[in-house]
Amino acid sequence: MTIPVDPQATERESLPRRDPRLEQQARNRLHPQHLIALQALGRGAAAPQERWMGPKGVTRRDPHVGHFIAANGRKRIDRSGRSGPAAAGAGQPAVVAKARVLPLVEIASPAFLIAVVPDMTGGRLSSHDRDVLGLARQIADADPAHQGAVLAITFGTLREDGDAADSVGLGAAGADRWLHFADTLHDGYAPLAQLAELEAIDGKLAPRLWLLPESRTGGGERGRRLGARLLCRGDALARPSGNAYQLDGELAAIGRGELVEVSVTGRSGNGQQDLTRPLTRIVLCEAECAEPVEDVRHAALPLEWEAASTARAVPDVIEDLGPVAVDPSAIALGEAEFILSAGNGIRDWDGFHRAASLLGATEGASRVAVDDGFMPRARQVGATGTWVTARVYVAVGISGAIQHLQGIQRCDKVVAINTDGGCDMVKRADLSVIGDAGAILASLCQQLEAERSAVSDASAAGQAPAAPSTSSSASSATLAADAA
């Protein structure tokens, strides 16, 4: 007996057959047969399928599979079709972390110049410097038809930690032109040589305005020296406007040279009065006088400049004999740069004091240590003690009460040494070492002493390296300031 062969049977077998039950099991991750179903459907070990044909002939898509992580950190599905199911890395979140490149602004031929002398404390731009550069930027950009440029003048050795094109970050802070006097003379106290340079710049480049930070770290002094020099030369407009924090009026008038149109407000009379006056050519700006530049970067082209011959000829009436070693315990806690602070976790107080003197750190303490009588009240750090501004703060055995953490808000780097790894100070710290404070401090002292004895042996053998001397250098760029 022959089985009647349906002529269309083989054809029917070759048709893709779907097993809805198997598919349902494969979709349901909680089904006991889920993995078997996946195997049967041929996507067992492989990555889960991103899209498939649904039972009604509609393409289905698994939103958990075909996504990527966007720049803002959120899951996104690419609907543009550029990355199909075969796209490389599909299913694996690709974290996009690309540094944002700020648009570059170049001002080829400025109509006028605004000169800024940032303090560059420690060779770096301070936030005060950035604010002043931001104000200069506002003035230079006030009138797009009459575009000005910001000239930054820096002295001494600078820290280079930016990229190659903008090594000290002056461009990102808003400077179009840059004049740098790299002579090591300016690392010390050389007010008269700097004054001679500034005077020469004022004569040759004739900036519309001089903006300097009103600070104790050089800005205020430079501005007043320049102002007094120019005043005595008969330039009545050079009288410095000190402690200035606000400019009122149409800023575009400054570019046109009509300084009287703008008024400047500053503190006077021991901070009790506001003095408003017509704008003068030298403005000493307080911190937060303007918003710093963001979102763009400027060219900061180095200017070609010959050091003023007068600067060389300045008589050495003021001689800098160098820094003096200061007893760290004599420095006020509020302005100390490096603080070693002790809390309840300290058992070996002699070891703590020894570590502080070896490190050259100013001593601080938490409230508990002061209350227990181990440290004087004047050394207390925190909301009820001193609000410190140290660059490096080492908290030894301090768990970090909120009042203490408030007091160290303005510290840059915090190091915590604590036995409790879950305390708040460890969460705040940039570096935390979990362990016994006494042992770690003792080891610190031991390592420092070993190093210092090695160094003193080496220097006794006469291997002191000679400091290289750098000279004033200026690379080339052209200044196209056609200032009147």
């Binding site: 007043r224 410095p240 006077s268 009379g269 003021i318 740069e337 790894g421 570096l431 070492v433």
Partner: protein, 295 residues
Amino acid sequence: MKADRSSVAQQASAPLEVVSLVSLGQHPVSGRLRRAEQDARALELCLALERQSAPGAVSLSAWHASGSEIALGSEQDQALRGYLGMGLESLTLVTPNAPGAAPLKAVDQPVVDVWPLLVTRLKQAAPQLVVCGGQGETGEGSGLLPHLLAESLGWPLVEGIVAIESCDGAHLTALQALPRGQRRRLRVKLPALVSVDSAAPAARQSAFAQARRGELSTLASGELVHDAQAETFGVAPARKRPKRLKRIKATSARDRFKAAAAKAEGGGGKRLEGVSAEEGAAEILKLLREEGVLR
């Protein structure tokens, strides 16, 4: 200080002429006139120099330049006597030469600038050292006076001095205050101007009886300059400056939410757990060295 005694003790015949310039101060809260904080510190520095040198080696005088006369018992008089109470016998009031007339009455006085007066007087008296405060507390308080004096006399000026170490008639060695409590040693050729700011040691208290005993002597010299520029200045009580707000530049809703709801960030730091004390100490030393706080 004992060591300094010899360096300051120079030729006994010509004592070192030191002038301390003092001005009227104003209390920051009550607004009452008083001795100026920085000028008092400057005078304190001079008194310390006088004390540390041999008797008679330093001759100290204090000057106050005034455009108008100061009535006995007035508020200005009381304020200036604050300096006398620090141990001075007399205070010199430098007033303008008024040809044939009394000095201007305080009532209808135009704004005047006293620095030409002081320049004339300093040229006449030719002291070796002039010490003053960095910034005045009344008037414009621009801090320009020492600079103008230095420019017009051609003397060097150093700012922010906290201690005079030695003074040998030709040179002055002094310590200058730097930020963060650091100090720098300077050597300045005399004659010179030295200005003092709030980093200098605090001034001693003013003794009431000494202040009453002391004498304010008037000395006319030079001409006043009418400061037309300063008459255009508008003066108002200080406005409180607004605090800078934290600007949130989030481009997405998620970032805005994060910025609004963010707690103090944590867990960003490096954490060493279960390491030996030596390793932990080495890591801390490495960080201190990177930050450049170890000397």
